[in-house]
Symmetry: C2
Subunit: 347 residues, 2 copies
């Protein structure tokens, strides 16, 4: 089963291969030749081999996508966004799931490198160092939803981001990787203020791996009400999340409101509070990060901080596809507090 090559088309059309290539790539050719070549190509059902082309032009053209876990609705949405943009550009997308494990992430980066995939969108799991090989190899990298940990001492890079209204920051310094983020700071602040307004004073934060910006925003928004004891972190797994939630609620019975920094954490919080006999929102007010479909089905329906998952992916894809051009250092997308029924006044 030999595939039809450009040579076959050239032969059948009685022209040289160069002409065929030109016709198909939109180069110049006489109307007559163009027509004949196209007809023959269609008749032979010819498809140019991406392999040959890529080898010739030294780039795969595809784009790589690395997310922690496709099972998570947020990353599913993000992936859909990337795929949508990639499809409109006709680019294939190679997807890898890192499981939030820096080691797997590094392995996948190596795989993409090997495939000569030169454009990558990633929700980074490891530290910035892991991406050294990638950028050194000339990859165009865009981070989304998360930033790799840097050495401390950096000022908050958020301040320099391109805001939605299109304000351009100064040309990005060498090595800075464009990042598409949801406006965590604003989201968390809004939620915390909402809870404060309901009279809550003992507000806890339940976080997972990553998302340092959410935690920072939480501390900041809480101000003097902040209590490090009420900020706990779980690992990546579902069990770990449940254990953390349950432990937190048992240790600190005076907690009247909880902000869950992810839908996995929110799920754990709901289960744990049920298990402990805490009524939502009677005994405990709950705000969850990520507006997942079940938030509305939950009982009571959950008040959430929604991030535009699909947009995050789409914008990241746009960014990574705008290869040579001067690209903004980042994009910040708005979050939204969607009030449902999981928060009430302080009991």
């Amino acid at each position: 089963m030999k595939r039809t090559t450009i040579k076959d088309v050239a032969e059948a059309a009685g022209v040289g291969v160069a002409t065929v290539s030109r016709v198909l790539s939109g180069g110049s050719a006489s109307a007559e030749t163009r027509e004949r070549v196209l007809a023959v190509a269609a008749h032979l059902d010819y498809r140019p081999s991406a392999l040959g082309r890529n080898l010739r032009q030294q780039r795969t053209g595809g784009i790589g996508l690395l997310v922690p876990d496709l099972t998570d609705t947020l990353y599913g949405r993000l992936a859909e966004g990337v795929l949508a943009c990639a499809r409109s550009a006709g680019e294939p997308v190679v997807v890898g799931s890192t499981g939030d494990d820096p080691e797997q992430e590094a392995e996948l980066i190596g795989m993409l490198l090997e495939q000569s995939v030169d454009r990558v969108i990633a929700v980074p799991s490891g530290d910035a160092e892991a991406w050294g090989p990638a950028i050194r190899a000339g990859m165009t990298v865009v981070f989304v939803g998360e930033q790799p940990e840097e050495e401390p001492g950096d000022d908050d890079p958020l301040d320099e981001l391109l805001l939605l209204d299109g304000v351009r920051t100064p040309p990005k310094p060498d090595g800075a990787i464009p990042t598409v983020l949801a406006d965590d700071r604003s989201g968390v602040r809004t939620a915390v203020q909402y809870l404060k307004g309901l009279g809550h004073r003992r507000i806890a934060y339940l976080g997972g791996p990553g998302h340092p910006r959410r935690v920072a925003a939480f501390r900041e928004a809480l101000g003097e009400l902040a209590d490090e004891e009420l900020i706990v972190f779980a690992g990546g797994g579902r069990d770990s999340a449940y254990a953390a939630a349950s432990g937190l609620l048992q240790r600190h019975r005076d907690v009247t409101a909880l902000l869950a920094g992810g839908n996995r954490l929110g799920e754990a919080a709901v289960l744990a509070s049920r298990e402990l006999g805490l009524r939502i929102p009677g005994d405990l007010s709950l705000v969850m990060y990520d507006d997942v479909p079940w938030a509305e089905l939950c009982s009571p329906p959950l008040t959430v901080i929604a991030q535009p998952g699909q947009d995050l992916g789409y914008r990241a894809a746009e960014l990574v596809l705008r290869a040579g051009a001067r690209r903004p250092r980042g994009v910040l997308l708005p979050t939204e507090l969607i009030v449902r029924g999981s928060c009430g006044p302080r009991p």
Copy 2:
């Protein structure tokens, strides 16, 4: 930024390129040469270019994955399964989202063809005909979770599937495409019998696009209780599902039990019944296809038919990677009825 090629390694090691290729591909070479070549390769941080290799061997090696929608938890799990298996085989995975649209599916198939991706796992959306070009081009295709519609008159292909216990079916006829399925028939039958046992007589089915086997099983399991009026279908969208659910429940107030053939449909059913003031399970018993995380968080927790999403993907990947070998015509994975709180006795 030139990448280091096999030629560089050969030069630096003082050997021919052929030798380097052999060493790296596990061919024969003297211990001394092998060691030197490996050392040099490591020192130069050499990575063989997949482009060159693929072009040479006329295959990309990667595997393609086509699902209707990554946002759906089931397909997210399925994708994770595929990725897990692919990673252990060191194969990249190109993912496409068809949106349940045969046209997009065909387009994506074309893209994979162009990329010389010669192994594809797909949840088919269109009819079998759409896959003609793919198999004609020599692609190894495995379907998962769904079968493309065939001309009527075929007997149920399920009967010939390889069951979990390893019974091998007769060698597959030419053109038959291996398929990995969840045992819908058994799942639906169990659920229907469970509902019957609770006294329900007017049992409705709410389906989406595809999954004809579930519907058939539903009719079969219901026997003389079956009523075509109570079998309704929605389109792919969320709105369509809600409209179908709401319409069904309004038109037929005597329905006391509902089987939702997918988690999107289940979601719609919950919302619609709430809207109509129907209490679950007081007025309406609900069984939903797919055990999604929120099924347990719903109020009441939903009784579901669970399919092993991740396994489906993993098995499909195994199948598609076992290229040359004689492959079974299909794999059937068990489903499980998980009883929670959304079903009660007939009111």
